[in-house]
Symmetry: C2
Subunit: 196 residues, 2 copies
C-alpha cells in the first residue's frame, strides 16, 4: 500500500472524527509512520506473501499471474523499547462478537509462541466503531476456556483496552503497550505481570 | 518461496558439502525452520513487497499485473531470547570485496536504527564460497570511515564471524549471535559490548 509521504505538520489537518471512517489498516500504518518519524518505535506491516505462477522479464520484470497466500504470523512487527512487538489488526461488522474465523489457527499458535519467547503480542480489534487492544494472552485465555467460535463484545471490553482516536499519532496504541508492560490496569487485564 | 515440509529427520540426509551449493536464501530458510521446530527462535523471511496494478476477481482472486518493490528494511526478522533480531543475507560473485550497491541506502539507515533501538542486527554475506556474519555496527563503521563503494574481503574476514556449514541447523548463525551478545570474540569484533 502506498501512502503519501506526509510531513509531520500534515497530521494536524486530520480530525479525530474523520479518522473514524478511515480504514483500520491505514490508521495503523499512519500511526506507525509517526512512531518511525519520532523514533519511538520501528514497526512495519509485513507485506502479504504471494505465490507466483508467472512472471515476464521483458521489457522489465512484471508479475503476470500470482495469488495471495494466507499468513502464518501477524501482520505487524518490529521493535519498541528494545522489545519485540507483533500484532494484528482486525475489524468486524458484527456488533455483538468478534468471529474467531478472522484468525487462522496457525496465527493463534504463533501468538502463544511470541508470548512464550518474551515478545509483546496483541490484536487491535475494531468492533462497534470502537478500537480495542486485546492482549495476546487474553485471546489465548478465551480460546482455552470457551468453546465459542467468536469472542463476545463484553469479553473484549472487559479484557481489552479502548484505543482513543487522536492526532499524533492517529492511534496511540504504544501508550497502552506501556500500561501492559507496567503490569496492566485493574480492569481485568491487570494480571499481566503476575502471569509472566 | 515454497520449501518441502521436511520432518526433522530429513535434515540429516543433507551433507555439508551439498549445502555449499545450496542457495543462500534456502539455507537460511531451512535453518530458521529448524530454529522454529526446536523453539529456539521465531525468525521469518519477510515477503517481498509488491505493487499491484491489476487483479481479477473471477473465478477467483488472481494478481494479473504486479511488480517487486525495493525493500526499506532487512529480509529476516523475529525474536530470539526475548530480543528483536533483524538481518539480511547477501551474496556476491566478487572474490575481493562486497559491493555496497547490494544494500539500499534506506536499508543502511534502518540497520543503524535497529541497533539504536537495542535490536540485534547483522548481514550474512556469502563471498568466496564462505559465509560470514558481519555485525551491523561493523557495516556502519565501515561506511562512516571509508569512502569505498565495496567492503574488502579482508575487512569482512577481520570483523565478521565465519559461519560453518552444518546439519541441524544447516547454518547455526544464532551460535554467533550468542557470542556477539556475550561481548564478541577477541578477533577485532570484540568491542561490541564496550560500544553499547
Amino acid at each position: 500500500m502506498n501512502y503519501p509521504n506526509k510531513s509531520k505538520g500534515n497530521y494536524k489537518k486530520t480530525t479525530s472524527y474523520a479518522n473514524r471512517g478511515m480504514d483500520l489498516e491505514a490508521l495503523i500504518n499512519e500511526s506507525n509512520k509517526y512512531y518511525l518519524e519520532t523514533d519511538e518505535a520501528l514497526i512495519y506491516k509485513k507485506p502479504t506473501e504471494i505465490g507466483i505462477n508467472k512472471v515476464v522479464y521483458k521489457p522489465k520484470l512484471v508479475i503476470k499471474d500470482a495469488y495471495f497466500k494466507s499468513p502464518s504470523t501477524l501482520d505487524y512487527n518490529g521493535i519498541y523499547k528494545g522489545k519485540y512487538i507483533e500484532f494484528d489488526a482486525k475489524e468486524t461488522s458484527s456488533k455483538t462478537s468478534f468471529p474467531l474465523s478472522n484468525i487462522m489457527s496457525h496465527q493463534l499458535k504463533h501468538i502463544e509462541k511470541v508470548i512464550d519467547h518474551g515478545g509483546i503480542c496483541f490484536l487491535i480489534i475494531k468492533i462497534n466503531e470502537q478500537l480495542f487492544l486485546l492482549p495476546g494472552n487474553k485471546v489465548i485465555e478465551f480460546i482455552n476456556n470457551y468453546e465459542r467460535k467468536s469472542i463476545p463484545y463484553e469479553y473484549i471490553k472487559n479484557n481489552g483496552y479502548l484505543l482513543q482516536y487522536g492526532y499524533n499519532p492517529l492511534i496511540d496504541y504504544l501508550k497502552i503497550v506501556d500500561i501492559l508492560e507496567e503490569g496492566g490496569l485493574n480492569n481485568g487485564s491487570g494480571k499481566e505481570k503476575e502471569e509472566k
